[in-house]
């Protein structure tokens, strides 16, 4: 689809508006977006200006209080920490996932589907069960410590569970397939002739990779980054299970406003809207980078 000449601008000519059949075909998607994306977001936006109801819920009002509370240093600190955690997760997933995706994409047709299947098999088990399985592996009397002690590689159990490292591990484990799959689709479409041409024209492996292969697979890389970074930022279960709930992530804080003592829905909504804006900015930024390259 995209070949070496990536800087051809998108066609800007006259585009025919979709006719009635077109709208009909689009309508399920539009309805879905209206019901499950726009409506909840609008409700959240309205709630975020309201006041806390006695039993939870919201008393509608127009106050900026909730947004003022979001700007508290504690929440900003937690937001920054969440960005760092999910950023780190994204980088690790990219570094680990790219070679895997490249190998699968370039593999022999016969093996390719089998390898892809192996990436997807974990999805057949519930995410929570897989995360709890890590508790069994990482706990101080767990499988990993038991193995290491058996072979005298360590003398005392190594504290792995309930640490930030365990949280990052859990996040990487959860999101790695979301990095591999989109990159794989890009790699699969990669034209080998262009890579060979790069070598023929004197590029070494590093240059061929950085100047030809990476730019041509960049749509997959961008999709992978977005698919990992954004959900990782909001996920709180891994933090609770593997991190011991010690260090709150922004997802935990939002959850607490609805399911915790405070019953502060408007504040939770304001946090949600803030996060949504942050996502929007991140999305716009990567989109722009993409267009520039």
């Amino acid at each position: 689809m995209r070949t070496g000449t990536t800087n051809v601008a998108a066609p800007t000519g006259y585009q025919r508006p979709p006719g009635l059949p077109g709208w009909l075909l689009l309508s399920p998607l539009l309805l879905w977006v209206a019901l499950f994306v726009i409506t909840p977001t609008v409700i959240m936006l309205v709630y975020s200006f309201g006041r806390r109801g006695t039993l939870g819920g919201v008393v509608l009002d127009f106050t900026m209080e909730n947004y003022a509370a979001v700007l508290d240093p504690t929440y900003l600190k937690i937001l920054v920490r969440s960005v760092i955690y999910s950023g780190l997760t994204t980088i690790i997933c990219l570094v680990m996932g790219y070679p895997v995706a490249y190998y699968i994409g370039r593999a022999d047709e016969r093996w390719r589907n089998l390898l892809l299947m192996m990436v997807m098999i974990p999805f057949w088990t519930s995410f929570l069960i897989r995360t709890y399985a890590w508790v069994t592996i990482l706990k101080s009397e767990g499988l990993l410590n038991g193995f290491l002690m058996q072979y005298n590689l360590i003398l005392q159990p190594f504290e792995m569970l309930y640490t930030p490292g365990a949280v990052i591990l859990g996040l990487v484990y959860t999101f790695l397939p979301f990095m591999i799959l989109p990159i794989y689709t890009s790699v699969e479409k990669l034209d080998s002739a262009l890579v060979e041409a790069a070598f023929d024209l004197g590029a070494g492996p590093v240059r061929a990779f950085s100047r030809v292969i990476v730019p041509m697979t960049s749509p997959g890389i961008t999709a992978g980054i977005l698919l990992v970074f954004i959900p990782a930022l909001g996920l709180y279960a891994v933090n609770d299970i593997l991190g011991g709930g010690k260090v709150d992530m922004i997802g935990n804080i939002i959850e607490n406003q609805f399911k915790g003592n405070a019953r502060n829905w408007p504040f939770g909504s304001a946090l949600g809207i803030t996060l949504l804006l942050a996502f929007g900015v991140a999305f716009w930024f990567t989109g722009r980078r993409q267009a520039e390259s």
């Binding site: 937690i78 709930g245 010690k246």
Partner: protein
């Protein structure tokens, strides 16, 4: 398409509910996860012919969120004491017709007319528990830990599990200063802040759902947990000692209550009366070893069950319960979030 199916099934449900007013066929039970044994639900269905739709929640606030949204109408909920008070204040509970729940006589007098339901109009106690300290006596000598102050010591750093519940944590700190659990004022919060600043960095795990896991796995040696969790640990291994903190413990009581808009209150009465039967209540105790408020059921428990110090604390101390503190819960949440973010 999907929506019309939903509408049709809702209508069918409504028609069903209207025509069967005399003889309820359904009970929409909304209860804590892991608190109602499957055997009790099956026994009730067999006994009464009423089908139970069982939905669960993991916190009082989650239950309130669904109840207030009104998306589903429930016949029976299982709130804790402070939530009962909040619901009653907002006129969200239906008064129980006690003539339909004759087995209520089995409840011990000390669990009747408690502060959250002073006239005993709305609730049937389910289980009662305390929040206390569990110590793994293989790691820490038995008897060494007597109160919160002994738990939160530097030597236990990284070996402590606590409930992931800001109000609980703040209450423990307040009780070391002789402040009542319900005396939540900005001044008192300021007073306990330095103490919490010392305590929280020592904690290894915050877990309200299953604090016993970290203790069983050996990742921590002591903790402040629900008594039912402590009782399960004790059943597993006698090395787990349960201590009611000397500074003052508190009691929680989970009860059955009927929402004001319940479609099948008759079914709710039937369920209340059913679980109050000693032979049924006994089954609940077997799975969830909290303090059973049903005196007749207690007579049928084994000596081992009654000897579990977490289920039936020796001396049966008189303890205070949580009251509804309304929006004073917001600064508590903020305080604990702040301190966690600092550590």
């Amino acid at each position: 398409m999907k929506r019309s199916v939903v509408v049709i099934s809702l209508l069918a449900g409504l028609v069903g509910a209207c025509t069967q007013k005399e003889q309820p066929k359904e009970l929409n039970l909304f209860a804590w996860s892991e608190y109602v044994p499957q055997s009790v639900i099956e026994g009730f269905q067999k006994d009464t012919g009423i089908k139970v739709n069982y939905e669960t929640y993991a916190s009082n606030e989650e239950m309130l969120a669904k109840l207030v949204s009104g998306a589903t109408k429930y016949d029976l909920i299982q709130p804790s004491e402070y939530t009962i008070e909040a619901l009653a204040n907002e006129k969200q509970l239906k008064e129980v017709d006690w003539s339909k729940v004759p087995n209520f006589k089995n409840i011990a007098p000390e669990y009747k007319n408690m502060p959250h339901d002073p006239q005993q109009k709305f609730t049937v106690p389910w289980m009662v528990g305390t929040v206390g300290i569990v110590v793994n006596t293989e790691k820490i000598p038995a008897g060494e830990v007597k109160g919160y102050k002994d738990v939160f010591q530097d030597k236990h750093k990284g070996r402590i599990v606590v409930l992931d519940d800001p109000r609980e944590i703040v209450t423990w700190a307040m009780s070391t200063q002789g402040i009542s659990a319900n005396d939540v004022t900005p001044e008192n919060l300021d007073k306990v802040k330095p103490l919490l600043q010392q305590w929280l960095p020592l904690v290894k795990v915050y877990d309200s759902d299953s604090p016993k896991t970290a203790l069983l796995n050996g990742d921590v040696d002591l903790g402040v947990v629900w008594s039912g969790e402590a009782a399960l640990l004790y059943n597993e291994d006698k090395k787990f000692e349960y201590v009611l903190p000397v500074e003052g413990a508190h009691l929680f009581i989970d009860s059955l209550a009927i929402p004001a808009n319940a479609p099948n209150p008759e079914a709710a009465y039937a369920f209340m009366n059913y679980i109050l039967r000693p032979e049924v209540s006994k089954l609940i105790s077997a799975d969830f070893p909290y303090t059973n408020p049903n005196l007749e059921a207690r007579k049928q428990l084994t000596p081992e069950q009654l000897a579990n110090p977490a289920s039936y604390p020796p001396g049966n101390p008189k303890l205070e319960t949580f009251r509804d503190i309304g929006e004073r819960a917001v600064p508590i949440d903020k305080l604990v979030t702040d301190l966690k973010a600092q550590s």
